[in-house]
């Protein structure tokens, strides 16, 4: 998400996040969103799928579409409505996202006059990208998370531990870690499905640390990992019960990718939605 934002916007948002953390004296993770909202006189309520109005809403626009609504900020009322997610880490990110619309001056001023829906699609997307960046920087307390990552062994196991410390999702923690990592690494995030032969994985997106491409080349985005692939076998053997993270060594580079032939270490893990592979040169 950050790739779409200019340095000046990122700097401005980082400055705002610093200000919020200073004003609320939050110095250790996890971020307390209640303190931040009350310091600004903002109220919030949670809504659930069990709310009577929600049922009507979901019937009118469809359940899947309704599920995408995670939060709303009413600037004039100084009120946030958040969907009560069973996964608290997702709720935190949604809270941070709505706080962004309040704390970023150019968002708040706009929302006093009009709705986000009054903006052009491009402008709306930009606003949402900026709010997501703010939520991410706030949750990771600007550079503090990356300092913690830098001070420890780069592994999914460690990042899962930090995910609990910061109360941020494992996926967002992995993304933030790889995006800002000085060591060479890449993150392959895959959609997974299960059939008679076991699990199959298809690349959803890939992130690289600054040095990985130079050292190892690019990993093909279009590849999928069928039942015979080494990674799938590992996943099928060890991750059926999702009991932990597993590490194995292999060689990166095939006819479908521009990657150089390089011995690598892959650590894999999956949750109910996605599978993650952290790739590091050996």
């Amino acid at each position: 998400m950050a790739g779409y934002l200019s340095e000046s916007i990122k700097n401005s948002i980082d400055g705002q996040v610093d200000l919020v953390l200073r004003e609320t004296s939050i110095v250790t993770p996890p971020v307390n969103y209640n303190i931040i909202s009350s310091s600004q006189g903002l109220n919030y309520n949670l809504f659930t799928e069990q709310d009577p109005y929600y049922d009507d809403f979901a019937k009118q626009i469809g359940k899947k579409e309704a599920e995408k609504l995670r939060g709303v900020l009413l600037v004039e009322d100084k009120h946030i409505f958040l969907k009560n997610e069973s996964y608290s880490k997702r709720l935190n990110f949604g809270f941070g996202h709505e706080l962004a619309h309040w704390h970023l001056e150019w968002h708040r001023q706009l929302l006093y006059y009009c709705s986000e829906f009054d903006l052009s699609l491009k402008a709306r997307k930009q606003l949402e990208r900026e709010a997501n960046y703010f939520a991410s920087r706030l949750g990771f307390m600007n550079g503090l998370f990356n300092q913690h990552v830098a001070d420890s062994d780069l592994s999914i196991r460690n990042i899962k531990y930090l995910s609990d410390t910061y109360d941020m999702s494992v996926e967002s923690c992995l993304r933030c870690a790889v995006d800002n990592e000085a060591r060479s690494c890449a993150l392959i995030v895959m959609d997974w499905s299960k059939n008679d032969k076991g699990y199959e994985f298809k690349v959803n997106y890939i992130l690289y640390s600054r040095t990985f491409k130079e050292e190892c080349g690019l990993i093909s985005r279009t590849q999928s990992f069928g039942p015979e692939h080494e990674m799938t076998k590992i996943m099928n053997t060890f991750l059926g019960m999702m009991t932990g993270e597993y590490t194995f060594e292999t060689t990166l580079g095939d006819s479908n990718s521009s990657s150089k032939s390089k011995e690598i270490i892959i650590e894999v893990w999956r949750n109910n939605y996605k599978a993650f592979a952290l790739v590091k040169p050996k």
């Binding site: 109005y53 609504l69 709303v72 949604g94 402008a123």
Partner: protein, 143 residues
């Protein structure tokens, strides 16, 4: 009236101003007029306020090139923060500026319920209306 010498004298650089617009532009099509207006407006306001480029650049933390680009009307959604700062410095309405540069609909058409929704951005107007309706009901139930 603008002197024609301004264009023939190679030593002088052509500096557009709001007065140029009156002389040079014949209003045939209002949309075309607004299109031209976008290319002059921000520079004209800055000059009217007696502010130099360097002062505005330092207040907005942008380079002269960026200010030049914006003053020529080459504005995208990535300039919303910048436009907000300019609106603040020049005493202009920020939402009106967004509308002028086609980043928002016209202020007369602004929605009555003002909200920011965390949802997929590419939703149609009917879905937007349903979200507004739902939130209005939730808000009503809280009061």
């Amino acid at each position: 009236m603008m002197s024609k010498d301004l264009f023939t004298d190679k030593e002088k650089k052509y500096e557009p101003s709001a007065s140029d617009l009156r002389d040079e532009f014949i209003i045939n099509d209002p949309a075309e007029y607004v299109g031209e207006f976008r290319k002059f407006f921000l520079k004209w306001v800055r000059e009217t306020k007696g502010l130099s480029k360097s002062i505005v650049c330092s207040k907005c933390h942008v380079s002269t090139n960026e200010l030049d680009r914006v003053e020529k009307g080459n504005i995208s959604e990535k300039d919303m923060m910048f436009l907000n700062k300019l609106a603040d410095i020049y005493g202009l309405s920020y939402p009106y500026l967004l509308a002028l540069f086609k980043l928002a609909r016209r202020p007369q058409k602004f929605s009555a319920v003002k909200l920011a929704a965390y949802h997929a951005t590419d939703i149609d107007e009917a879905t937007q209306n349903k979200i507004v309706e739902f939130i209005s009901k939730l808000k009503g139930s809280q009061q």
